[in-house]
Symmetry: C2
């Protein structure tokens, strides 16, 4: 986007200036004044609100000016339009410079005066409540993974846009940056440019590469990127480095900058991290900056959109006959079957797996829809961030790994949930000690706790292959972040093929007027509960059995009724005793009825699923004993 002072003749329509004509790095003559005005906005905003990281924003003034007011093809009147070049601020502390650029370009409805007021969309860190922000950032090291997903979505849709991600040098200490770097190179995401604002200072002192920004360039190169070090305050150098390349390689520009640049008493000075200036200091700074009173206006541009690449018709396997009741099938297989089938129906469904497709059972989808299957490798953080980038670009991603390894990406899941994506399905397999011989480090025992604490997330935990299929189908339609928990071992099919499984519901499998207590189970524990029911009936204790496949939202009404009609609820789950279904039931219906919990505690062990269930008091025998104690 070429910028020019509003008073000047606009000259030839900038959209007509071809990319090649800009190879000589002709800097728009208005850019220095624009950078000064952005600096002034930053200082006024942060001083007014009395917080923020003005010096972290000032170091990026030239980078942001060159992007928004010369390089990027974008339309200030259409927030987040996909046929535009996009910018994502990963170094959240620099947020004021982003609001300043949008304000300067006339792209904000709100004046930056309301920065950080409650309910303003202009928060201290980027939040997707503002329509220019695709996803929440500010937990460092996540931006590049989101941009990976946005770039993939553009490729799927034939949108020839460039994506710019601004990181800090300190941020490159986060390992997630390198997961994302490897992925971008492997996927040939040449549309991505990472700009590293290498001002060399972080909260506690110098950044690890403060004196050697070239080291960062070497790292990006070793991860398959093209990379160069430039002077981040030299607009000519920036514009030259930003010239479009026809290159499948992503590109990193390590911009040597000075924190607080533009103000003599801030530039390079330690002790100013995260501090707003006082009113007097702000005045002094503004006097130095001498921003012109008059800003620029910019002409909207869009990027070309070509028809998406033709896709070979999907290889559809012959439909597998539905599982019959009593047959043994793993819920992960039910998920895999439904996912592959959904691939034919939902053209926006993209599946990402973390090098465990044969275990998680996304391999059927991969075989039938290879163009929409992404092998994300042994790098769960980037996988989740990439899925979020796809989700906020209108795709319907499904992320799959072992439940245990989702803990590797919990910060990414947290930020994804708070980004309120339209649809994002996360599937964790090999959950619980029923995994058995797949060894303790691979057993997911914390995943329900993780997702219950994420606001707005839906949690589903099927007990058999049929409910796994139905819940997968619905999970793909469910708004926001949805977690589906699957099991490694085979369990008996409990339901007929036509059985509905509404989200928020449950299945009362056994009930009579004589029921003395209720077993509430989910997942692999349901079969054990059914076996325990038989034994309890023989012991003269008729028992209700409920399959609580929807943990969030929970079917409180059914549980309350069971509580009224029996002497209490015994919740059984293959998850840590704390944080799971037992807690959910105790918290929601415990005021009306007695709730007991059985779950996993103690040191993890290797063993067969049956051995471990017995040890963890999750076997039918252990359930029976607990129930008898409760009924006594």
């Amino acid at each position: 986007m070429t910028a020019h002072h509003a008073s000047k003749d606009p000259g030839p329509h900038p959209a007509q200036v071809s990319a090649s004509a800009r190879v000589d790095a002709v800097v728009d003559p208005a850019l220095p004044a624009t950078a000064a005005r952005l600096r002034a906005h930053v200082l006024r905003m942060t001083t007014r609100v009395g917080s923020g990281h003005p010096t972290s924003a000032l170091s990026a003034a030239e980078l942001v000016s060159a992007l928004f007011f010369q390089q990027m093809r974008w339309d200030p009147s259409e927030p987040g339009g996909r046929d535009q070049d996009r910018f994502l601020l990963s170094k959240g502390n620099a947020t004021p410079i982003f609001w300043a650029a949008l304000h300067e370009a006339g792209a904000l409805d709100e004046a930056p005066e309301i920065l950080c007021q409650l309910d303003s969309t202009l928060e201290g860190h980027l939040s997707p409540r503002n329509p220019w922000v695709p996803a929440l950032t500010g937990s460092l090291g996540q931006g590049l993974s989101i941009v990976n997903g946005m770039a993939l979505a553009n490729r799927f849709d034939g949108i020839d846009a460039r994506l710019y991600c601004l990181l800090s040098d300190g941020e490159c200490s986060e390992g997630a940056v390198w997961e994302s770097a490897q992925f971008a190179a492997a996927q040939n995401l040449g549309a991505i440019t990472a700009l590293v604002d290498a001002n060399g200072l972080q909260q506690s002192g110098p950044a690890p590469t403060a004196t050697q920004p070239e080291r960062l360039a070497e790292r990006f190169r070793a991860f398959g990127w093209s990379a160069e070090v430039i002077d981040g305050h030299d607009l000519h150098a920036i514009v030259r480095a930003l010239r479009p390349l026809d290159n499948a390689q992503p590109r990193a520009l390590i911009a040597r900058t000075v924190k607080g640049q533009g103000v003599s008493f801030l530039a390079g000075a330690d002790g100013w991290h995260g501090k707003a200036l006082s009113a007097e200091e702000c005045e002094a700074a503004l006097a130095e900056i001498q921003a012109p009173a008059q800003g620029v206006h910019i002409t909207p541009r869009r990027v070309p959109v070509s028809p998406p690449p033709a896709v070979a018709p999907a290889t559809t396997n012959p439909p597998t006959p539905p599982d019959q009741r009593g047959e043994l099938t793993a819920t992960r297989s039910g998920f895999g079957t439904a996912l592959a089938r959904a691939g034919a129906r939902c053209k926006d469904l993209i599946v990402l797996d973390g090098d465990v497709r044969h275990s998680t059972k996304t391999n059927d989808f991969a075989a039938q829809h290879p163009e929409r299957f992404i092998e994300a490798g042994i790098a769960e953080q980037n996988m989740i961030g990439t899925a979020l980038g796809l989700a906020v670009s209108g795709k319907r991603p499904c992320v799959s790994s072992f439940a245990a390894f989702l803990s590797r990406g919990y910060d990414f899941l947290r930020m994804a949930a708070n980004s309120r994506p339209p649809h994002l399905l996360v599937v964790g397999s090999h959950a619980g000690v029923s995994v058995g011989k797949d060894r303790p480090s691979q057993i997911g025992l914390e995943d329900i706790a993780m997702f219950r604490a994420l606001d707005g997330a839906t949690l589903l935990y099927p007990s058999d292959a049929v409910s796994a299929e139905r819940l997968t189908e619905q999970a793909l339609e469910q708004p926001g972040l949805t977690y589906l928990r699957t099991t490694r071992v085979k369990t008996p099919v409990l339901y007929g093929p036509g059985e509905p499984f509404p989200i928020g519901g449950s299945k009362t499998l056994i009930a009579s007027e004589q029921d003395r207590l209720t077993l509430v189970a989910a997942g692999v524990a349901v079969s054990e509960a059914l076996d325990a029911y038989v034994q309890l009936l023989e012991s003269g204790v008729p028992t209700r059995v409920i399959d609580a496949y929807s943990i969030e939202p929970l079917d409180v009404e059914t549980l309350l009724r069971a509580g009224r009609e029996t002497a209490g609820l015994l919740v059984v789950e293959d998850h840590h005793l704390n944080g799971g279904l037992g807690d959910a039931v105790a918290a929601r219906v415990g005021r009306q009825t007695r709730v007991f919990r059985l779950g996993v505690t103690g040191e993890p062990h290797y063993g067969t699923p049956a051995q471990l269930r017995r040890r963890q008091r999750l076997s039918n025998k252990a359930i029976e004993q607990a129930a008898l104690a409760m009924a006594a």
Copy 2:
């Protein structure tokens, strides 16, 4: 350790062979036979148990043979002795080769026949239940961080041992590896050698660098290591590359290997990942390997220990006068004060902070005990793993970051908890919406849920600066993993300086026989609850107030009594509604009394602490209203 056939003359005592004498890479002539025997052990073990990843183990046979039977100075009769070179297997799938080496050296009490039997310490993945295993591995990408901590502990104690970490090439996709690489180089941990078993195959196909192992060497070099690519089946190349260097740089050896090496039908073949051989296949493989019937015996060696470097006497600040009741002080400050003071008392206390020391308040410790303060940078995963490495080496580490950013390291926390370290304190500051202007991405709302689901973890949440000090002191003495949650905003001092805060206890701040209900609060919510109490008393509803500073273990007895003596408990906390104190109380005492919960839900917002508390129904007014509804 020089290996030789048991039948041979042992020759000169290997401990007398100096490091320099081995520069010419004289390979012990017994090593090829040893490698063959290790391969045979691996195949027999995995076939017998019918599971495991034999091919992932076979590729490392020469590397492991050269380490354990020539290079490493170790004593098979003393598991985990610190004056030995140490080995940590990060690529968990290769576990059988580790058991094989230990067995071959006579270092195991248990025969490898019992691999993977319940209660055997020889599990399918390394577990620290076996004394040769410092910490749980097998969730990929964690080993190097643990080795970082072990190397730091050795440096503190003047132990001149080398540390070897075996990774896979696929594992290097995990960003955590690069966090650890940067840290090791920055800390000049030249004692570390990373061996990357680059067999080029992972579960779903080729590893990202399968055809370019040199790329991995470039990455390590760009992160400050020396690195070279070697033939991982050439014992001469391995021994030459392993020669000791007097170098502050950590060293990476990228060993080109073949998965399944040594058996014609396994070598480099796809489709064998994670599969044990049948009995017939195993016989055929053993026939190819032709391992000699006779093994080697090795002579124990130890490494020199020098007096630890002299440490300048700590700069002790004059003791700060104790906070007076009603004064405003943040709990993070109470923690910081106690931590700095403990530094003088506990010489094994090491503090690690993730570039937020000025916010978390570890800066006092850093100033007074700089030699035991480790700036771990913006890399939380490595920080936690390094702390675990310190913990299992007899140090008393304290890890500090924002509560929100601990979510970045949840997989590391999970593995740390399951490693059952003697002492490991984790402190999360800026918890809850009371953080206010520090923006949503930085607000920890999931941390209590995270730690409650970690088996054996202790959870403490002080409400004022005095209890923060006392609980910090006790947390440092508490066995296992302990989490302390602190708050950013200043809150009134509630307790006198002599007040005790036993772990597992609580403080009943207000109680009378007329109490109609009980407010149970922790942390920042306690002051709000006390304000609500005043208002409720004016409304004619006398209320008990309990400070539940110990969330795990929970003071169930006091809560049960309050439940008996009043009409129910209203739990108030600045954490997500799910997974926190409310769930803990509901699950533990909800059968005996009514439990209501107030906690955070909904989209995170920027705002002042007071605005956010009001919005989240955590203000004293909101508590009052909820209590009145409950009492009605």
